[in-house]
Symmetry: C2
């Protein structure tokens, strides 16, 4: 009686966390909330929308509102260091991750003048040409990551990096053949809410942030040979970094 949308949402949140509504379970619908709490339909809708915007639930129009479940992928930035023995600690999240396939789709390759940000990252002039490879990664048909990679065009001209299929070992193997093997990396990472376009491309439910990663790759000589801009569905990923200090 005379509850507010926020209070109804709080109530439901408590019951979700208490396990009354396990992941995947349908929450009480708008008509039920209207009857139970004696509020208007719009208020009930607002309460559910709060939960959705918090990323706790998602709604299927015409069907219901359901508790979300998380099964994030684990992205280990530096695999080689991670393999050394000392880092054998247990994972904090998603320790029992089944191995799921990462499918690459929508590969596009073209050559453009270096955008400002890219030129600065790679140490180029803004008139210099860069090779752009963009692609989309899917897991179980669901997009989880957009990636756009830039290479100095003069460096990779004629190599398989300019093809859709970069060949065995991928782009890094080709760079190594060109005498420009990347061995050192810097990643800059932000998190924010997605734009509408980004939300569409990643098929993001409301209430899901994205993680934006800008990775610069260096050769042993300190030359910058790759700039990779990634956009991850934050609900689909746990990132892992290993380092010494």
């Amino acid at each position: 009686m005379a509850e507010t949308a926020r209070q109804i949402a709080d109530d439901l949140r408590v019951r979700i966390e208490a396990g009354e509504f396990p992941p995947g379970k349908r929450l009480p619908g708008e008509p039920a909330l209207v009857k139970q709490y004696g509020v208007a339909k719009m208020t009930a809708n607002g309460a559910l929308k709060l939960l959705v915007n918090e990323g706790l639930a998602y709604s299927k129009p015409g069907s219901g509102t359901y508790v979300r479940d998380f099964q994030p992928l684990r992205r280990v930035a530096n695999k080689r260091m991670a393999r050394t023995g000392w880092s054998s600690g247990q994972s904090v999240w998603s320790p029992d991750l089944g191995r799921r396939d990462l499918v690459v789709a929508d590969i596009r390759v073209n050559e453009v003048a270096a955008p400002r940000q890219v030129a600065r990252a790679l140490g180029l002039d803004s008139q210099d040409l860069v090779l752009v490879r963009s692609r989309r990664f899917l897991v179980d048909e669901k997009p989880v990551q957009l990636a756009t990679t830039y290479y100095p065009a003069s460096l990779v001209a004629g190599s398989a990096i300019t093809q859709q299929n970069t060949g065995p070992g991928g782009a890094y193997a080709r760079l190594a053949e060109l005498g420009a093997e990347p061995v050192q990396f810097v990643e800059e990472l932000r998190s924010r809410m997605p734009s509408g376009t980004e939300a569409d491309l990643l098929a993001l439910p409301a209430g899901t942030p994205v993680m934006e990663i800008c990775r610069t790759a260096f050769t042993a000589d300190g030359d910058r040979v790759e700039f990779n801009q990634m956009l991850l569905d934050a609900g689909s990923y746990v990132l892992e970094y290993h380092f010494t200090s």
Copy 2:
């Protein structure tokens, strides 16, 4: 004329990105939108709420809705590696960050039985005691980070780590004196929307995600001596990682 909330928000977003409304500028208010687009007040409110939930704007009740501006801090996980010459590439975001002071507040120290997650991370039994240090970091009076650090109680008993002030060089210097200097680290990172409590503690505007970092610290022998759980205001931080592979 019969615009929907989403369309109005799209319109405003375009104009924001075009520079018509620079950061800090007040957006057209609800009454203005009602008149301009011929919609109901609730629709105008919904349009502005969309922008707020995207993190593009914030509203000051009684005053107006304003375009947000970002001035993130830069957190470099491994400072030592970052100092080496090869990583001298330009920063992608916030290149001209002024040096702002990170103030520590609300330090609480106590001893409890290890929570499950902590026990697993530190390789302890759940009956083992851990020393818990929790604190809040502020920049310009605004909270930007919550941190809770756990140490095996038997390791740090009697040291200054059990005090509010850990002394010169901080906790790591004390660990080094105990023969347990942390030199290797694993960080696991997630991003998600905050709970209501977390949003309050960090004074987060709506539409701001948090980044959750779990860091485990190892000695050269591979012993785990610290577990640090951090919660960052995503709008206030850019993270930077350096590594080889």
